[in-house]
């Protein structure tokens, strides 16, 4: 959810943070409706057809709680189409933080809260309880694997980055350092990015990418691996790669092309975990993610603006969680979504790259300023709530509650 152009003059006037209604790239309703039309609805339709035509076809989704809420509010047909997919039994839903946040890095307590909230939301909407965890933007480290294991997850997903794998291959299941039972699935980034990033790139030697060509590339791994994990943004289908690139045709023919080779099959993450033993231990002491060429945290935490904003929001949490004000806590959590900090990134500012493409703000500074103004309003609300709470406690002291009044 994107913060509207929130100015210092809006602080304290009680206006909401996320209610831009301009129809532009800051208008959350307009964005959801656009992406639903271009991606979620047509892609879900293709997938449902695929499952009908190829009962072996499997797929898995990780959908944040914030996204699910917005589907409920602005695009209920999208939610219905996801439900229909889950009902086929061929689709697995994964756990993540409800607010697509960086809480795994900043606060274990808050992380556990958000994962639990998400688990509850998934149970309510789809009637299933996920057993595999994928963190925000595929952010991963030994510590995160250990937290996920403690929460009872059997598996966790991560980027199969070269710098963590070394000579090893992402086509096997690994054991994270410092854990006992949880299994690690690694993204095959070359094949995943062939679809997600390079599909429509005419200068790429693989262009044009057809389902049969891709199936050949996949089959080449037979004999040298157990699994090929294709992880990508769902918006690849129709939003990053537009319909006219042929991406939906690719998606439609992919199952049958893959299955032409009898050695191939499809599986969900938990099926992989059941089926394959770990091939070794993978030690990842430093954070890895799927963002940017660095595959680290620099997309969200690499400059003074991002650090100040993150420090501010998590410092606020120390007091907010003691306040009995669900709306305040809800807003605080929405303000933890990683995208807020992504928009403040200045790494490639001068080259006008992918961050700029994804950002609804004119510059990282506009993103920071709106966010920090909201933080100031949050502080005001917090201090008002604290005063109110103290006042109520004081009242109770004067006139103790009696059971007859309860």
């Amino acid at each position: 959810m994107r913060v509207r152009k929130y100015r210092i003059f809006d602080v304290g006037d009680g206006s909401p943070y996320f209610n831009d209604q301009s129809g532009t790239s800051l208008d959350n309703k307009a964005i959801i409706e656009k992406v639903a039309r271009k991606c979620y609805l047509p892609a879900n339709k293709v997938l449902l057809e695929n499952i009908k035509n190829n009962p072996e076809f499997k797929i898995s989704f990780s959908i944040s709680g914030v996204a699910l809420e917005q589907f409920e509010k602005y695009a209920p047909d999208v939610l219905d189409s996801f439900k229909a997919l889950v009902q086929t039994g061929n689709v697995e839903i994964l756990s993540e933080t409800y607010y697509h946040s960086l809480s795994s890095i900043y606060s274990e307590a808050e992380f556990i809260n958000q994962v639990s909230l998400h688990r509850k939301k998934i149970k309510d909407l789809f009637g299933v309880t996920p057993t595999v965890f994928r963190n925000t933007e595929l952010i991963y480290s030994n510590d995160i694997a250990q937290m996920a294991e403690k929460m009872g997850y059997r598996g966790i997903l991560a980027e199969g980055a070269d710098h963590i794998l070394g000579w090893r291959s992402p086509t096997f299941v690994y054991k994270p350092t410092g854990t006992e039972n949880i299994k690690l699935l690694l993204k095959h980034y070359r094949l995943s990015d062939d679809v997600a990033f390079r599909f429509s790139q005419k200068s790429w030697e693989g262009w044009p990418l057809t389902a049969s060509k891709f199936a050949d590339w996949v089959s080449k791994h037979n004999g040298s691996g157990d699994t090929i994990n294709l992880f990508m943004d769902y918006e690849t289908f129709g939003e990053h790669q537009w319909e006219d690139t042929g991406i939906f045709e690719f998606l439609k023919y992919l199952p049958q092309e893959i299955l032409k080779n009898p050695d191939n099959n499809f599986a969900t993450p938990s099926e992989i975990i059941d089926k394959y033993e770990v091939k070794g231990e993978l030690d990842v002491p430093n954070y890895v993610s799927w963002a940017d060429t660095e595959r680290d945290l620099s997309a969200w935490i690499s400059n003074d603006l991002q650090r100040e904003a993150l420090d501010t929001v998590y410092a606020l949490g120390k007091d907010i969680i003691h306040i009995d004000d669900p709306e305040l806590i809800e807003d605080w959590r929405r303000l933890q979504t990683s995208d807020h900090f992504y928009y403040m990134c200045t790494k490639y500012f001068n080259d006008g790259d992918v961050h700029k493409y994804f950002s609804p703000y004119e510059s990282p500074y506009e993103a920071f300023i709106a966010y920090m103004n909201v933080m100031q309003d949050m502080r005001l609300r917090l201090s008002n709530a604290q005063k109110k709470q103290e006042h109520e406690v004081a009242l109770h002291k004067v006139k103790p509650l009696r059971f007859s009044e309860v």
Binding site: R7, I8, F9, N303, D304, L305, R307, E308, A309, T346, F349, N350, E362, S363, Y365, F368, I369, M372, N373
Partner: protein, 431 residues
């Protein structure tokens, strides 16, 4: 890489530091120095004789007989950018000087042109380069005399200077004539190029955008003492530097100050500069009851200005129309975060800077307050701004100019000389 053929430039200017009233002189200094560093021989022509020498080029003066001009008068003579009080002939009778020195601005511009052909004949050159309307008539006259191509450089149009569409007709016509007679036009920004296209009807293909540069010298000055005292009491300093004229948007600065003060009361607004709206600006400040929050320090330059930069928390340039805008780059060198209007050329090349429309007071105030409040933002702009400005140097501008000169030179030699390659080819078709 050696250039097979370097142009020889006859450059017409109006002012030159330290005898300058504004950015035109600074730009001429930067351009001539960088061209000469690339090995381009250059003669810099000025309308009046002034006691100036620089190591990188020779000077020629259109009026050699002006040795009687006192230094106190010089600033007035060069004040091509301050106002256009064309009919005031203050010096004519008073000092008994010839019209070329004492006449109105337009008369002086015309007198400059009358002497240009002689200069063009005396100083061999392959290309003529004229800076702004003040020198266009001289440039055209020189072109008529020598037959060499003319480059008209636009540092500001009459629309920028007047801050509106209410322009001086005579000056407009001089500009238009310059643009038409020039073989190529150089604009200091896309903003300026668009003005030349839309207001003068010039074809965009004829105009090349070459951004100004700046010489990077670390600001090693000591912070201004009085401002330091304020800062020790926790006060913040918001800085305005520039001529106080309609074009620079001083009234927007005052309105913004009032909004900022409502949220950050311990803020002071420092104004360095002078101009025809100075009185008006002071009255506005007083009218809003902000007199104790404003510090007017008059026109500062050099070390004095550097000491003020050292105290500033943010520099604001709310210009209504700014063809380029060198001052924010000075502020950035001094590690001061800058907020520039989107109606400026410099905003086209800056990343580590804040940008607002000059009329969007709320947006400007919001950004200023954010910088004053958030150390992260202030640090980021200050560190990255300083880094960024290092890449905005005059060498880049002079490289572009040299390739522009060469393209003209080739076109011309093909046209004028019978032995040019084009002609030679037509003579020997069987090869």
């Amino acid at each position: 890489m050696s250039n097979p053929k370097l142009p020889n430039v006859l450059m017409f200017g109006w002012e030159f530091p330290p005898f300058n009233s504004g950015g035109l002189g600074v730009a001429c200094e930067g351009i001539s120095k960088a061209l000469s560093a690339s090995g381009v021989p250059l003669t810099f022509v000025l309308p009046f004789k002034i006691p100036i020498t620089v190591p990188w080029c020779k000077f020629a003066f259109a009026n050699e007989s002006s040795e009687s001009v006192e230094e106190s008068q010089i600033s007035t003579l060069f004040a091509g950018y301050q106002s256009h009080s064309l009919d005031t002939n203050v010096y004519t009778s008073k000092y008994g000087l010839p019209v070329s020195i004492s006449g109105s601005l337009i008369e002086r511009v015309r007198a400059y042109a009358l002497r240009a052909p002689a200069i063009a004949r005396k100083h061999p050159h392959s290309v003529i380069h004229a800076h702004d309307w003040l020198t266009y008539p001289a440039g055209i006259a020189a072109k008529e005399a020598s037959g060499r191509p003319l480059v008209a450089h636009v540092h500001a149009t009459e629309f920028d200077r007047s801050g509106s569409d209410n322009v001086n007709k005579e000056i407009y016509n001089i500009e238009l004539e310059g643009f038409r007679r020039a073989d190529k036009i150089v604009a200091v920004s896309e903003w300026t190029k668009n003005k030349v296209v839309s207001k003068y009807g010039i074809k965009p293909e004829k105009i090349k955008v070459i951004y100004n540069g700046i010489e990077f010298n670390n600001n090693g000055a000591i912070i201004e003492q009085n401002l330091k005292k304020l800062k020790q009491n926790g006060a913040k300093i918001v800085l305005f530097v520039g001529r106080i004229t309609m074009q620079k948007g001083p009234d927007y600065f005052v309105t913004m100050a009032e909004k900022v003060l409502a949220h950050e009361p311990n803020t002071f607004f420092v104004v360095s500069g002078s101009g025809d709206m100075e009185g008006e600006m002071i009255r506005q400040v007083a009218g809003r009851g902000l007199s104790n929050k404003f510090i007017f320090c008059g026109f500062l330059r050099g070390d004095e200005l550097n000491r003020v930069y050292k105290a500033a928390d943010i520099f604001v340039m709310p210009s209504v129309s700014e063809p380029f805008g060198l001052v924010p780059l000075e502020a950035m060198i001094s590690e001061v975060p800058v907020l520039v209007s989107k109606e400026s050329g410099v905003s086209e090349i800056l990343s580590s800077a804040l940008k607002s429309h000059f009329w969007d007071i709320d947006d400007m105030s919001d950004k200023v307050i954010s910088v004053l409040r958030h150390r992260g933002l202030q640090n980021h702009l200050s560190v990255n701004g300083k880094e960024e400005v290092k890449a905005i140097h005059w060498k880049k501008a002079s490289d572009s100019l040299i390739s522009l000169y060469n393209s003209l030179d080739n076109a011309f030699s093909m046209f004028l000389l019978p032995s040019s390659p084009a002609v030679a080819r037509t003579q020997v078709p069987y090869l």
